[in-house]
Symmetry: C2
Subunit: 216 residues, 2 copies
Protein backbone atom coordinates (compact mmCIF):
# COMPACT_ATOMS: atom_id res chain seq x y z
CA UNK A 1 0.00 0.00 0.00
CA UNK A 2 1.29 3.43 -0.86
CA UNK A 3 1.72 5.60 2.20
CA UNK A 4 -0.46 8.64 2.68
CA UNK A 5 1.08 12.09 2.82
CA UNK A 6 -0.05 15.12 4.79
CA UNK A 7 0.96 18.73 5.27
CA UNK A 8 0.77 19.82 8.90
CA UNK A 9 0.71 23.49 9.90
CA UNK A 10 3.08 23.94 12.80
CA UNK A 11 3.05 27.01 15.03
CA UNK A 12 5.31 25.96 17.88
CA UNK A 13 2.34 25.62 20.20
CA UNK A 14 1.08 22.44 21.77
CA UNK A 15 -2.07 22.17 19.66
CA UNK A 16 -0.30 21.95 16.32
CA UNK A 17 2.33 19.62 17.82
CA UNK A 18 -0.52 17.34 18.91
CA UNK A 19 -2.12 17.56 15.46
CA UNK A 20 1.23 16.50 13.96
CA UNK A 21 1.58 13.47 16.24
CA UNK A 22 -2.04 12.55 15.58
CA UNK A 23 -1.50 12.70 11.81
CA UNK A 24 1.56 10.48 12.20
CA UNK A 25 -0.42 8.02 14.33
CA UNK A 26 -3.00 7.79 11.51
CA UNK A 27 -0.30 6.63 9.13
CA UNK A 28 0.43 9.88 7.32
CA UNK A 29 3.95 10.76 6.26
CA UNK A 30 4.00 14.37 7.36
CA UNK A 31 5.70 17.44 5.99
CA UNK A 32 5.34 20.53 8.17
CA UNK A 33 4.87 24.17 7.22
CA UNK A 34 6.03 26.86 9.61
CA UNK A 35 5.13 30.49 8.95
CA UNK A 36 7.33 33.46 9.64
CA UNK A 37 4.68 36.14 9.23
CA UNK A 38 6.06 38.96 11.32
CA UNK A 39 4.86 37.65 14.65
CA UNK A 40 6.12 39.54 17.73
CA UNK A 41 8.85 37.05 18.53
CA UNK A 42 10.71 34.25 16.79
CA UNK A 43 10.54 31.81 19.70
CA UNK A 44 7.52 30.07 18.25
CA UNK A 45 9.34 29.50 14.95
CA UNK A 46 12.39 27.94 16.60
CA UNK A 47 10.10 25.81 18.77
CA UNK A 48 8.15 24.64 15.74
CA UNK A 49 11.43 23.59 14.11
CA UNK A 50 12.38 21.65 17.24
CA UNK A 51 9.00 19.91 17.30
CA UNK A 52 9.29 18.95 13.62
CA UNK A 53 12.77 17.55 14.16
CA UNK A 54 11.77 15.68 17.31
CA UNK A 55 8.94 14.08 15.32
CA UNK A 56 11.28 13.18 12.47
CA UNK A 57 9.43 15.32 9.93
CA UNK A 58 10.55 17.60 7.13
CA UNK A 59 9.83 21.26 7.70
CA UNK A 60 9.68 24.34 5.57
CA UNK A 61 9.74 27.84 7.02
CA UNK A 62 7.76 30.17 4.82
CA UNK A 63 8.18 33.91 5.10
CA UNK A 64 4.95 35.83 4.60
CA UNK A 65 4.57 39.57 4.31
CA UNK A 66 1.49 41.12 5.83
CA UNK A 67 2.56 44.76 5.58
CA UNK A 68 -0.88 46.04 6.53
CA UNK A 69 -0.59 44.80 10.14
CA UNK A 70 -3.99 45.16 11.85
CA UNK A 71 -3.34 42.81 14.75
CA UNK A 72 -1.60 42.94 18.11
CA UNK A 73 0.35 39.85 17.03
CA UNK A 74 1.98 41.78 14.21
CA UNK A 75 1.90 45.38 15.39
CA UNK A 76 3.98 46.19 18.42
CA UNK A 77 2.05 49.42 18.90
CA UNK A 78 -1.03 47.38 19.89
CA UNK A 79 -0.71 45.89 23.36
CA UNK A 80 -1.57 42.23 23.94
CA UNK A 81 -4.01 42.39 26.84
CA UNK A 82 -3.42 40.32 29.95
CA UNK A 83 -7.15 39.83 30.45
CA UNK A 84 -9.39 37.76 28.24
CA UNK A 85 -12.22 39.80 26.71
CA UNK A 86 -15.34 38.74 24.85
CA UNK A 87 -15.56 39.21 21.07
CA UNK A 88 -12.82 39.23 18.44
CA UNK A 89 -9.44 39.37 20.25
CA UNK A 90 -6.88 42.05 19.32
CA UNK A 91 -4.54 39.17 18.54
CA UNK A 92 -6.78 38.23 15.60
CA UNK A 93 -4.85 38.49 12.33
CA UNK A 94 -7.23 39.10 9.40
CA UNK A 95 -7.45 35.98 7.23
CA UNK A 96 -4.41 34.36 8.85
CA UNK A 97 -5.68 30.79 8.76
CA UNK A 98 -7.10 31.35 5.28
CA UNK A 99 -3.64 32.39 4.08
CA UNK A 100 -1.85 29.58 5.93
CA UNK A 101 -4.23 26.93 4.62
CA UNK A 102 -3.93 28.32 1.09
CA UNK A 103 -0.17 27.85 1.10
CA UNK A 104 -0.67 24.39 2.58
CA UNK A 105 -3.00 23.53 -0.30
CA UNK A 106 -0.41 24.69 -2.79
CA UNK A 107 2.30 22.53 -1.25
CA UNK A 108 -0.09 19.62 -0.80
CA UNK A 109 -1.10 19.69 -4.43
CA UNK A 110 2.52 19.99 -5.55
CA UNK A 111 3.70 16.94 -3.57
CA UNK A 112 0.39 15.08 -4.08
CA UNK A 113 -0.50 14.94 -0.39
CA UNK A 114 -3.95 13.73 0.57
CA UNK A 115 -4.56 15.96 3.57
CA UNK A 116 -3.75 19.17 5.41
CA UNK A 117 -3.83 19.07 9.21
CA UNK A 118 -4.39 22.16 11.35
CA UNK A 119 -4.41 22.20 15.15
CA UNK A 120 -7.20 24.74 15.58
CA UNK A 121 -9.66 24.25 18.39
CA UNK A 122 -12.86 26.12 19.00
CA UNK A 123 -12.52 26.98 22.65
CA UNK A 124 -15.25 29.28 23.88
CA UNK A 125 -12.85 32.00 24.80
CA UNK A 126 -11.67 32.37 21.27
CA UNK A 127 -13.51 34.66 18.92
CA UNK A 128 -11.31 33.87 15.93
CA UNK A 129 -13.71 33.40 13.01
CA UNK A 130 -11.15 31.33 11.12
CA UNK A 131 -11.08 28.71 13.85
CA UNK A 132 -14.76 27.82 13.67
CA UNK A 133 -16.07 24.50 12.36
CA UNK A 134 -18.17 26.28 9.71
CA UNK A 135 -15.09 27.98 8.36
CA UNK A 136 -13.17 24.73 7.96
CA UNK A 137 -16.12 23.10 6.23
CA UNK A 138 -16.38 26.02 3.80
CA UNK A 139 -12.63 26.05 3.21
CA UNK A 140 -12.64 22.32 2.48
CA UNK A 141 -15.44 22.76 -0.06
CA UNK A 142 -13.55 25.60 -1.73
CA UNK A 143 -10.43 23.42 -1.91
CA UNK A 144 -12.44 20.67 -3.59
CA UNK A 145 -13.34 22.90 -6.52
CA UNK A 146 -10.29 25.18 -6.61
CA UNK A 147 -7.54 22.62 -7.15
CA UNK A 148 -6.62 20.36 -10.03
CA UNK A 149 -5.83 17.31 -7.88
CA UNK A 150 -8.44 14.57 -7.71
CA UNK A 151 -10.05 13.27 -5.47
CA UNK A 152 -8.99 16.41 -3.66
CA UNK A 153 -7.22 17.36 -0.47
CA UNK A 154 -8.90 16.88 2.91
CA UNK A 155 -8.75 19.66 5.48
CA UNK A 156 -8.47 17.96 8.85
CA UNK A 157 -8.83 19.93 12.10
CA UNK A 158 -8.87 16.99 14.50
CA UNK A 159 -8.82 19.06 17.70
CA UNK A 160 -11.71 21.29 16.81
CA UNK A 161 -14.06 19.92 19.43
CA UNK A 162 -11.50 19.43 22.17
CA UNK A 163 -10.56 21.78 24.96
CA UNK A 164 -7.00 22.34 26.11
CA UNK A 165 -7.09 19.65 28.81
CA UNK A 166 -8.40 17.07 26.32
CA UNK A 167 -5.71 18.05 23.83
CA UNK A 168 -3.02 17.69 26.48
CA UNK A 169 -4.32 14.26 27.53
CA UNK A 170 -4.39 13.13 23.91
CA UNK A 171 -0.92 14.56 23.33
CA UNK A 172 0.41 12.70 26.32
CA UNK A 173 -0.78 9.39 24.82
CA UNK A 174 0.75 10.27 21.46
CA UNK A 175 4.10 11.27 22.95
CA UNK A 176 3.93 14.93 21.95
CA UNK A 177 7.17 16.69 22.97
CA UNK A 178 5.37 19.28 25.12
CA UNK A 179 8.68 20.45 26.58
CA UNK A 180 9.62 21.83 23.15
CA UNK A 181 6.36 23.71 22.54
CA UNK A 182 5.75 27.39 23.25
CA UNK A 183 2.43 29.09 23.90
CA UNK A 184 3.27 32.49 25.40
CA UNK A 185 2.50 35.59 23.32
CA UNK A 186 5.67 37.18 24.68
CA UNK A 187 9.12 36.11 23.56
CA UNK A 188 10.86 35.89 26.92
CA UNK A 189 13.14 33.10 28.10
CA UNK A 190 10.32 31.67 30.19
CA UNK A 191 6.55 31.99 29.61
CA UNK A 192 5.13 35.25 31.04
CA UNK A 193 2.34 33.38 32.80
CA UNK A 194 -0.18 36.19 32.44
CA UNK A 195 -1.16 36.42 28.75
CA UNK A 196 -4.28 34.67 27.43
CA UNK A 197 -2.28 31.93 25.92
CA UNK A 198 -0.22 31.19 29.06
CA UNK A 199 -3.38 31.12 31.17
CA UNK A 200 -5.19 28.69 28.92
CA UNK A 201 -2.16 26.46 28.77
CA UNK A 202 -1.86 26.49 32.59
CA UNK A 203 -5.58 25.79 32.96
CA UNK A 204 -5.29 22.92 30.47
CA UNK A 205 -2.41 21.23 32.22
CA UNK A 206 -4.12 21.70 35.59
CA UNK A 207 -7.37 20.14 34.35
CA UNK A 208 -5.48 17.33 32.67
CA UNK A 209 -3.88 16.65 36.04
CA UNK A 210 -0.31 16.79 34.83
CA UNK A 211 2.42 19.35 35.19
CA UNK A 212 3.65 21.47 32.30
CA UNK A 213 7.23 20.44 31.48
CA UNK A 214 7.90 24.09 30.49
CA UNK A 215 7.22 25.29 34.04
CA UNK A 216 9.70 24.24 36.69
Amino acid sequence: MKSKKAIVLLSGGLDSATALCLAKSKGYRCQTLIFDYGQRHKTEISRAVKVARACGCKYQILKINLPWKGSALLDKKIKVPAKIKAGIPVTYVPARNIIFLSFALSLAETIKAQAVFIGAHAQDYSGYPDCRPGFFRAFAKMAQVGLAIKPGIKIIAPLLNKNKAQIIKLGLKLGVPFHLTWSCYQGGKIPCGVCDSCRWRAKGFKEAGISDPLIR
Copy 2:
Protein backbone atom coordinates in the same frame (compact mmCIF):
# COMPACT_ATOMS: atom_id res chain seq x y z
CA MET B 1 -22.77 58.65 1.23
CA LYS B 2 -19.56 56.97 2.30
CA SER B 3 -17.55 55.77 -0.65
CA LYS B 4 -17.10 52.07 -1.20
CA LYS B 5 -13.63 50.56 -1.14
CA ALA B 6 -12.30 47.60 -3.10
CA ILE B 7 -9.11 45.63 -3.42
CA VAL B 8 -8.26 44.78 -7.01
CA LEU B 9 -5.77 42.07 -7.91
CA LEU B 10 -3.52 43.41 -10.64
CA SER B 11 -1.32 41.17 -12.77
CA GLY B 12 -0.15 43.55 -15.48
CA GLY B 13 -2.41 41.86 -18.02
CA LEU B 14 -5.37 43.41 -19.76
CA ASP B 15 -8.01 41.43 -17.88
CA SER B 16 -7.10 42.70 -14.43
CA ALA B 17 -6.64 46.23 -15.80
CA THR B 18 -10.19 46.01 -17.15
CA ALA B 19 -11.45 44.70 -13.80
CA LEU B 20 -9.81 47.70 -12.12
CA CYS B 21 -11.42 50.22 -14.46
CA LEU B 22 -14.75 48.46 -14.06
CA ALA B 23 -14.51 48.61 -10.25
CA LYS B 24 -13.73 52.32 -10.48
CA SER B 25 -16.69 52.87 -12.81
CA LYS B 26 -18.94 51.23 -10.19
CA GLY B 27 -17.89 53.85 -7.65
CA TYR B 28 -15.28 51.87 -5.73
CA ARG B 29 -12.18 53.56 -4.42
CA CYS B 30 -9.63 50.96 -5.41
CA GLN B 31 -6.42 49.78 -3.85
CA THR B 32 -4.46 47.32 -5.96
CA LEU B 33 -2.44 44.29 -4.94
CA ILE B 34 0.40 43.14 -7.17
CA PHE B 35 2.12 39.83 -6.46
CA ASP B 36 5.80 39.14 -6.92
CA TYR B 37 5.61 35.37 -6.62
CA GLY B 38 8.66 34.27 -8.54
CA GLN B 39 7.12 34.52 -11.98
CA ARG B 40 9.52 34.05 -14.91
CA HIS B 41 9.94 37.73 -15.59
CA LYS B 42 9.31 41.01 -13.81
CA THR B 43 7.75 42.78 -16.79
CA GLU B 44 4.25 42.00 -15.59
CA ILE B 45 4.98 43.57 -12.19
CA SER B 46 6.31 46.81 -13.68
CA ARG B 47 3.34 46.90 -16.07
CA ALA B 48 0.90 46.38 -13.19
CA VAL B 49 2.49 49.33 -11.38
CA LYS B 50 2.11 51.47 -14.50
CA VAL B 51 -1.55 50.49 -14.83
CA ALA B 52 -2.24 51.30 -11.16
CA ARG B 53 -0.57 54.68 -11.51
CA ALA B 54 -2.35 55.47 -14.77
CA CYS B 55 -5.65 54.70 -13.02
CA GLY B 56 -4.72 56.87 -10.03
CA CYS B 57 -4.83 53.96 -7.57
CA LYS B 58 -2.66 52.97 -4.64
CA TYR B 59 -0.69 49.80 -5.16
CA GLN B 60 1.12 47.36 -2.96
CA ILE B 61 3.62 44.85 -4.31
CA LEU B 62 3.56 41.73 -2.18
CA LYS B 63 6.41 39.26 -2.32
CA ILE B 64 5.30 35.66 -1.99
CA ASN B 65 7.49 32.62 -1.63
CA LEU B 66 6.38 29.45 -3.32
CA PRO B 67 9.60 27.48 -2.91
CA TRP B 68 7.99 24.25 -4.05
CA LYS B 69 7.60 25.44 -7.68
CA GLY B 70 5.46 22.93 -9.58
CA SER B 71 4.58 25.18 -12.51
CA ALA B 72 6.18 26.35 -15.75
CA LEU B 73 5.47 29.91 -14.62
CA LEU B 74 7.78 29.50 -11.64
CA ASP B 75 10.21 26.84 -12.72
CA LYS B 76 12.50 27.71 -15.59
CA LYS B 77 13.29 24.03 -16.12
CA ILE B 78 9.71 23.49 -17.35
CA LYS B 79 9.18 24.89 -20.83
CA VAL B 80 6.14 27.02 -21.56
CA PRO B 81 4.64 25.36 -24.62
CA ALA B 82 3.93 27.37 -27.72
CA LYS B 83 0.90 25.24 -28.50
CA ILE B 84 -2.30 25.19 -26.50
CA LYS B 85 -3.12 21.75 -25.14
CA ALA B 86 -6.28 20.37 -23.53
CA GLY B 87 -6.39 19.80 -19.77
CA ILE B 88 -4.55 21.54 -16.95
CA PRO B 89 -1.85 23.77 -18.51
CA VAL B 90 1.78 23.48 -17.33
CA THR B 91 1.51 27.16 -16.46
CA TYR B 92 -0.99 26.28 -13.72
CA VAL B 93 0.40 27.29 -10.30
CA PRO B 94 -1.16 25.16 -7.54
CA ALA B 95 -3.57 27.27 -5.47
CA ARG B 96 -2.31 30.55 -6.92
CA ASN B 97 -5.65 32.34 -7.01
CA ILE B 98 -6.55 30.86 -3.62
CA ILE B 99 -3.39 32.40 -2.17
CA PHE B 100 -3.83 35.73 -3.98
CA LEU B 101 -7.45 36.06 -2.89
CA SER B 102 -6.55 35.13 0.69
CA PHE B 103 -4.10 38.01 0.92
CA ALA B 104 -6.69 40.28 -0.69
CA LEU B 105 -9.19 39.27 2.01
CA SER B 106 -6.67 40.08 4.71
CA LEU B 107 -6.01 43.55 3.29
CA ALA B 108 -9.70 44.12 2.59
CA GLU B 109 -10.65 43.27 6.15
CA THR B 110 -7.85 45.47 7.53
CA ILE B 111 -8.90 48.56 5.56
CA LYS B 112 -12.62 47.70 5.77
CA ALA B 113 -13.12 47.31 2.04
CA GLN B 114 -16.41 45.91 0.81
CA ALA B 115 -15.15 43.93 -2.17
CA VAL B 116 -12.28 42.14 -3.86
CA PHE B 117 -12.13 42.26 -7.66
CA ILE B 118 -10.33 39.67 -9.74
CA GLY B 119 -10.04 39.72 -13.52
CA ALA B 120 -10.36 35.97 -14.07
CA HIS B 121 -12.30 34.74 -17.07
CA ALA B 122 -13.34 31.23 -17.86
CA GLN B 123 -12.29 30.90 -21.46
CA ASP B 124 -12.63 27.39 -22.79
CA TYR B 125 -8.97 27.03 -23.48
CA SER B 126 -8.11 27.46 -19.85
CA GLY B 127 -8.11 24.47 -17.58
CA TYR B 128 -7.23 26.46 -14.46
CA PRO B 129 -9.51 25.11 -11.73
CA ASP B 130 -9.15 28.32 -9.71
CA CYS B 131 -10.69 30.38 -12.53
CA ARG B 132 -14.00 28.56 -12.61
CA PRO B 133 -17.29 30.10 -11.48
CA GLY B 134 -17.83 27.31 -8.93
CA PHE B 135 -14.51 28.09 -7.34
CA PHE B 136 -15.30 31.78 -6.90
CA ARG B 137 -18.70 30.94 -5.41
CA ALA B 138 -17.09 28.54 -2.93
CA PHE B 139 -14.34 31.03 -2.08
CA ALA B 140 -16.90 33.77 -1.45
CA LYS B 141 -18.85 31.48 0.90
CA MET B 142 -15.68 30.61 2.77
CA ALA B 143 -14.84 34.32 3.12
CA GLN B 144 -18.30 34.95 4.57
CA VAL B 145 -17.67 32.61 7.49
CA GLY B 146 -13.90 32.98 7.85
CA LEU B 147 -13.61 36.70 8.51
CA ALA B 148 -14.66 38.92 11.38
CA ILE B 149 -15.98 41.76 9.21
CA LYS B 150 -19.72 42.04 8.75
CA PRO B 151 -21.63 42.00 6.40
CA GLY B 152 -18.60 40.42 4.75
CA ILE B 153 -16.45 41.00 1.71
CA LYS B 154 -17.77 40.31 -1.78
CA ILE B 155 -15.62 38.42 -4.25
CA ILE B 156 -16.32 39.96 -7.65
CA ALA B 157 -15.04 38.35 -10.84
CA PRO B 158 -16.87 40.56 -13.33
CA LEU B 159 -15.22 39.14 -16.46
CA LEU B 160 -15.93 35.52 -15.72
CA ASN B 161 -18.39 35.04 -18.53
CA LYS B 162 -16.63 37.18 -21.10
CA ASN B 163 -14.17 36.15 -23.76
CA LYS B 164 -11.09 38.16 -24.64
CA ALA B 165 -12.78 40.16 -27.39
CA GLN B 166 -15.64 41.12 -25.10
CA ILE B 167 -13.18 42.14 -22.39
CA ILE B 168 -11.27 44.29 -24.86
CA LYS B 169 -14.45 45.96 -26.09
CA LEU B 170 -15.51 46.66 -22.52
CA GLY B 171 -12.02 47.93 -21.66
CA LEU B 172 -12.10 50.27 -24.60
CA LYS B 173 -15.30 51.88 -23.30
CA LEU B 174 -13.81 52.17 -19.80
CA GLY B 175 -10.57 53.74 -21.02
CA VAL B 176 -8.31 50.87 -19.95
CA PRO B 177 -4.66 51.78 -20.70
CA PHE B 178 -4.10 48.71 -22.88
CA HIS B 179 -0.77 50.11 -24.10
CA LEU B 180 0.61 49.63 -20.57
CA THR B 181 -0.57 46.04 -20.14
CA TRP B 182 1.51 42.91 -20.78
CA SER B 183 0.23 39.44 -21.59
CA CYS B 184 3.25 37.54 -22.95
CA TYR B 185 4.64 34.68 -20.84
CA GLN B 186 8.12 35.70 -21.94
CA GLY B 187 9.84 38.79 -20.62
CA GLY B 188 11.24 40.20 -23.85
CA LYS B 189 11.12 43.80 -24.96
CA ILE B 190 8.24 43.02 -27.27
CA PRO B 191 5.63 40.23 -26.94
CA CYS B 192 6.86 36.89 -28.37
CA GLY B 193 3.67 36.46 -30.37
CA VAL B 194 3.67 32.66 -30.09
CA CYS B 195 2.89 31.75 -26.47
CA ASP B 196 -0.70 30.90 -25.41
CA SER B 197 -1.16 34.24 -23.85
CA CYS B 198 0.06 36.25 -26.87
CA ARG B 199 -2.16 34.22 -29.19
CA TRP B 200 -5.27 34.74 -27.13
CA ARG B 201 -4.56 38.45 -26.86
CA ALA B 202 -4.06 38.72 -30.62
CA LYS B 203 -7.26 36.74 -31.27
CA GLY B 204 -9.14 38.98 -28.84
CA PHE B 205 -8.03 42.22 -30.46
CA LYS B 206 -8.75 40.80 -33.90
CA GLU B 207 -12.28 39.73 -32.93
CA ALA B 208 -12.88 43.07 -31.22
CA GLY B 209 -11.95 44.73 -34.49
CA ILE B 210 -9.29 46.97 -33.05
CA SER B 211 -5.52 46.92 -33.14
CA ASP B 212 -3.38 46.12 -30.12
CA PRO B 213 -1.49 49.27 -29.09
CA LEU B 214 1.40 47.00 -27.95
CA ILE B 215 1.94 45.74 -31.49
CA ARG B 216 3.25 48.24 -34.00
